[in-house]
Each structure stands twice: as structure tokens, then as C-alpha cells.
Symmetry: C2
Subunit: 269 residues, 2 copies
Amino acid sequence: MGTFQEATALVAQGDGEYAAVLDAQWSVGTRLHGGYLLAVLGRAACASAGGNGHPHVTAVSASFIEPPEPGDAVARVETLRVGRSVAQVRTALVQEGRTRVEAHVTLGLLDDSDPWWTASEPVELPPEQDCVLAPADAPGAGFVVPLMDVVEERIDPAHLAFVFGNPSGRGVIASWQRLADGSDWDPLSLLVALDPVPPVSYDLGVPGWVPTIQLTAYVRRLPAPGPVRVRLSATDVGGERMDEVAHVWDAKGRLVAQATQLAAVRLPA
Amino acid sequence: MGTFQEATALVAQGDGEYAAVLDAQWSVGTRLHGGYLLAVLGRAACASAGGNGHPHVTAVSASFIEPPEPGDAVARVETLRVGRSVAQVRTALVQEGRTRVEAHVTLGLLDDSDPWWTASEPVELPPEQDCVLAPADAPGAGFVVPLMDVVEERIDPAHLAFVFGNPSGRGVIASWQRLADGSDWDPLSLLVALDPVPPVSYDLGVPGWVPTIQLTAYVRRLPAPGPVRVRLSATDVGGERMDEVAHVWDAKGRLVAQATQLAAVRLPA
């Protein structure tokens, strides 16, 4: 089992191009995980434009155009602007000459200072050991989630009623998350934590695949070592679309990252 | 005073290029309003790729690179993918050969049906006539907001304590909004409503300019005729960055649009 660092490693090819090998381990069913793909693009952005005091990904907004396959891919970076406190780039993940994901990435300098002001209280969760480790091969799921062997996700048992066919309908799933390779969270790996599995539609009685159309993530500060708490919720579902809002708090209870995504969902008639 | 339609009008130049005249009326201080700029790009996206059943903007994610000036500009559209239910394009607002704003736009087909499920309750507001009309030239503001002559914004008086030097510190500002030209809200003009003035930092005791770095907007359904209710809130402020989350409900109380932005903010020492 490779580490997160290995699964997102790049080889510079010059001219803002980086060779990547997309790792099937970071998949949900047969599809590569969206947050993992953004981490690859984020790493390319940092490699290309992260000098001059902008070492960290602070914002990523991505359009998912066509699912990439595991294996060789190219990450392309085009610099839009390098300013004093912000660098802005456009990135594309390309396979067989076709852009599969295109994302704007904003780079800057994060620190681990506490918020000046916050309205964000970490989600209340039972202790980590009292939450339920999500398996890669859940009985009855109908597909495997290899991602669950590299991301240790412990879900609040109060949010697991859907497993027994009795979804709560509240539209919230919260969990503890750690990287299985033992490394601490960083701004790139937080992009994985911001796109949790399963989608919150499971808690609304709508199981099945929910492809992301657009996802925007903000990384707000460097996370403290240790597990993160993740809360995923929906605001509104209709017209075959669902939004999912994710908040991630570090071991000190501070908001370290947030994301919103728009996904396609097949609703019961 | 031009209408919203006139202020966002385009002339096709071929090859996915559209000539626009950016209207200084849609400004905050001397800067063109971010939501207005996204409406111009959204209109270009619709003109270029809105055929074949994708007439509406459903998602816009923008990087603000360099403030554009009022006057002539070019909106460029590059199609990334046209699918069955979604078209995805990249747009750029260009002046003097430099990209000022670049945005991915997702197009689709919206309707005015009620949500299948929602957790979204419209913000509670006093009746429209009991809220305070935001003036273009507020005493003591230090700058004019021409936008307030084309967007009628009536702010909840409970959220205006900052005007008297006594900000609530709750990080919420809510208002009623109408277009002053009398036209009803549509998916493009909702992009203006999603970027309200003043920024919520005023309610945190931090007045002044808050430039948007990244903004992502989702339009969820066609709004009913009549005013919209808008709630703007912050989640976390620190490291010279603030997020602002906007929700917009139509006259029937349904969520019609939502947005998140990351902005630069100068915090007191």
C-alpha cells in the first residue's frame, strides 16, 4: 500500500507539465476519488508556482469533465498571476490528450495560528474508538471502496442508520479521519478529507453513485498533528442535483478546511 | 440608468469571443462588482454553449486575477465538454490583452420545481418595508456604492449596528433584494445577489475593502417573481482571509442560489 506522498508524486517534464501515475488504490468503486485528483493537481500547482512565498494550496475550484483512469496522466499548470500574497494558476489533468479535470488553484502562505474570529464549532463526535471504521468492502454495498484502505474513516454510529435501511433523513454524515500511512494531514491531503465517502445522499435514502460536477475547497490553516473531524451535509436536493458542504477541524478543534460541491444524483421517482 | 440586461449585453465576435462594455454603475467604490462580472461571463457562456438543452448557468467558479476597469472588454469562452445534462466551459474576461477574471461555468436546464429534500429555511427578516434601504452614498462610508442605485437592497435593521460603531460580532448580514429596473431575478442576475454589499466583515468591526480572491456560485432553480431574501455569513476569519457564505431564497421561500467566497481582509493588529 503506497503512501499519500507516493500516490501523488510527480515528475517534472518542463514547461509546467508533470507526469503522474494515478493510483487505483485511491478509488471509490471503479472511479478515482475526486479529492485525490485535486491533490495531484494541487501538488503540480505548488511545484510550478509555489516558490516566492506561496508554498500552500489555499483554494481549489475544479470542474470534473470526464473521469480519468488509473495509470499515466499529465498535470499541466499555467500561471495566471503571481502577486505578493497570492499566486493563481490554472491546472488540467490530461489523459490521452483529453482534459479530465480542470481546476483553478490559489496558492499562498498558511500558518497554524488560531482564528481571529470564528463561528465554527467542531462537529460533536463520540470518541474515535467508539465510531465505526468504514471498510473497503462493506457487505451489501455492491462495490468496493479501495480508498478506505488508505483513509481510515470512523463514522459516527448515529449517522449509520442507512446501513440498516433506515436512513435518518437529516442529511448529515460525520466522521474521524486519519491517513492510513500514518502521516499527518497537510494542505494537499486535506483535499481528500474534504470529499468524504459515502456521499450524504445515503443518509437521505438515496444510495448509489453521485458524480461530482464542481467542487471548491478552501484550506484555512495548517492542521495540528492527529486525526481530523469531518462533517458532510446537504443543503438542498432537487432537479437531479445535490450540494454537499464539508467542514474539517483539526485535533485542536479549529476549522482547517471547507468545501462545497455540486453533484448529480438520481432521485427516486 | 441602464437595465441589468443592458449592462451585461454582449456582441458576438465569432470564435467564442464576445464584446462587452463594463458599466461603472455596477461598482462598489471604484471597483466593478464581482457578481456583475460573473453575470457578464455567464451570459457569454450561455451565448456560446447554451444551446442543445443547456440554457441556464448552474455553477460558476471564478478566480479574480486583476480588477477590470469600466469600458470595453472581451469575454472569451472555450468549451470543455457538452454532455447530455451538463455543458462545461472556461470563460475569461480580458482587457488590454490581460485576463482579469477567469471562471469555469457549468450550464444545464433549471426548472422552478420545489426541492425533493431541503434543510434550507429562508432567513427570517422583517417585512421589506421595515428594512433599511442601503444608499449609494452612505454618510461616513468614505466611498460611494453606485451598485446600490441598480440593486435595491433592504437590510435587516438588526444587522445594521455596525453603522453606529457597534457591530454585533455575529458575522451575519441579511437583506431583501430587488433589481431597480423592475425586472425579475433570473439565473444570471442571481450571481449579483450572491455577492452582497457590504461584506460581512462590517458586522465583525472590520470595515473597508475586502477583495474577492475566489467565488463559487450554484444556481439551484428558477426563482419565482418578486424580491429575494439574501443571507451572508462568515465561518472563519484569520490569516488575512475571510470566507463568506451566501444563500438566496425566492419569494416562495425556496433556496434558489448559494455561493462561497474567499476574500482578503485586513485585520486589526
